[in-house]
Amino acid sequence: MSALLKLEGVEASYGPVKALHGVSLEVGNGELVAVLGANGAGKTTTLRAVSGTVRRSGDITFNGSKLRRRPDTVARAGIAHVPEGRGTFSELSVWENLRLGAYTRRGNLTEGAQRVFKYFPRLEERKGQQAGTLSGGEQQMLALGRAMMARPKLVLLDEPSLGLAPMLVQEIFDALDKMRGEDGMSVLVVEQNASLALAHAARAYVLEVGRVVLSGPSDELRADESVRRSYLGY
């Protein structure tokens, strides 16, 4: 299978502090891949290296060509990054946030918006509301909806479950599964909640201090002694 996204020996640093020491990973077409690891392992930085929001070196190939380190160019190439803190514009309305999601696209927004509202009807009810006044769950829906508006080939998702009630988390992951099925989108998701991530991902990578220490199909990882003890807690 040819990979949609491929990282080879990617290093990244914040000033003098190195956060990634040569990470290699792949995401296939229509695949959901999870990145697991403890705090500070470099999960968020891996996503930021792809979207070009951190200084990095190494090769990143997307859809057959090299990815430049410019966030707006990466977005235009078809990658939607839903960052830590969701990256919604709290001062703008829900509808304006969705319009911004489709910023790189030409033409009518209605069709894209209809799809988003199908997955998250609550966003349609709150269309005119200021995004900052939404609940945490609704904001996460808005962040995902905004990403969908771009019709991306790949979504980078950072801790979608953070601070949300389990029911909402389930709703969001179910939506992700549907989006992949219906729209052929790929997802690279960083998640603290390892059992949840492994339940939805086909494959996963485990990071420790900026390196991939383990990778494979979710079933295999779930059976792995060390993964079970460190990340699944049984």
Binding site: A75, H81, G87, L100, Y103, T104, L134, A150
Partner: protein
């Protein structure tokens, strides 16, 4: 303390002339706000940029252009000039401390002022505006056509800008870039160009204010300096990050100081500016963010 006899006719005239001044302050204040929202700095060169473009209009009119043929040309020049200033002068210090940007704009003001004296010479000169200075009768009150024209042009421009920001994709991109740089980049907004575009718009607003006020004040390199102080006051009064606040602040300020200057003896002409600043100080004591300043609503 009241000067002379009070008549409603004169009061109405004072209101209109206050609105005229206020429209100019509001336009320039809006330019300050647009730049403040994206760079978090006050552009002290805003007045000189406006005067510079007004001089270009004056030159064009000396070469046989009519006001209204020169007008769009000057706006195009102003826009390109604003974009160029951001790209060449502001961009290198964009990520530095705000005070650095402020100092750079101060330097730019001095530079433009010197250039104007060099090219066009000092001293003031009459500027033929597009509107007649005769009066027409509006409901029994004689009002100057020029005042009505200035208010109408300023309002039309502000309305156009409001529609642009609200309903176009580019307008939305500009607002997003000012609110959150990184999130904007992640959705594909070219933030650098948005900042430059904002400077272009601010320069256009300044050019319009300059061309409107020049027939009233006469044209000289320092023409906009006092106007800029009023515009700054108007922007602070309205709340520095509120475009609507800037316009309303400008109108309020224009009307208030015109009325105070006319009807309160000790204010007269000389104390207008200090009185305006005192009033603003009082407002800010009660509303520190200005009348329309943003108090972010956020649920975490």
């Amino acid at each position: 303390m009241l000067l002379g006899a009070f008549t409603w006719t004169e009061f109405a005239q004072q209101i209109v002339s206050g609105l005229r001044d206020g429209a100019i302050y509001g336009g320039l204040a809006l330019a300050l706000v647009i730049i403040y929202r994206s760079t978090r700095a006050i552009n002290f060169a805003q007045g000189e940029m406006a005067t510079f473009t007004t001089f270009i209009a004056w030159s064009l009119m000396n070469h046989g252009f009519s006001f209204w043929t020169a007008f769009p040309l000057v706006l195009a020049i102003a826009f390109s000039g604003g974009v160029a200033i951001e790209r060449l002068i502001i961009r290198p210090v964009e990520n530095g401390p705000v005070i650095t940007i402020v100092i750079v704009t101060l330097g730019l003001a001095v530079l433009l002022n010197g250039l104007m004296s060099l090219i066009w010479g000092g001293g003031n000169r009459p500027f033929n505006g597009p509107f007649s200075t005769r009066t027409i009768d509006v409901g029994g009150v004689p009002i100057s056509v020029q005042d009505i024209g200035i208010v109408a042009v300023s309002f039309a421009l502000v309305a156009l800008l409001a529609l642009f920001f609200r309903f176009t994709k580019l307008g939305l991109g500009l607002r997003a870039a000012a609110l959150n740089r990184q999130s904007s980049e992640l959705v594909g907004v070219r933030v650098g160009w948005m900042l430059a575009f904002g400077w272009g718009l601010a320069a256009v607003l300044g050019a319009v204010a300059g061309m409107m006020v020049a027939p009233v004040l006469f044209l000289d390199p320092n023409m906009m300096q006092t106007v800029l102080l009023y515009a700054f006051a108007a922007a602070v009064l309205g709340g520095l990050d509120s475009p609507l606040g800037a316009v309303i602040g400008g109108l309020l300020l224009g009307v208030t100081i015109t009325l105070l200057g006319r009807y309160v003896g000790f204010v007269g002409q000389a104390l207008k500016l200090p009185t305006a600043l005192l009033l603003i100080l009082l407002v800010l004591l009660v509303k520190p963010n200005g009348l329309f300043g943003r108090v972010a609503v956020r649920r975490v």
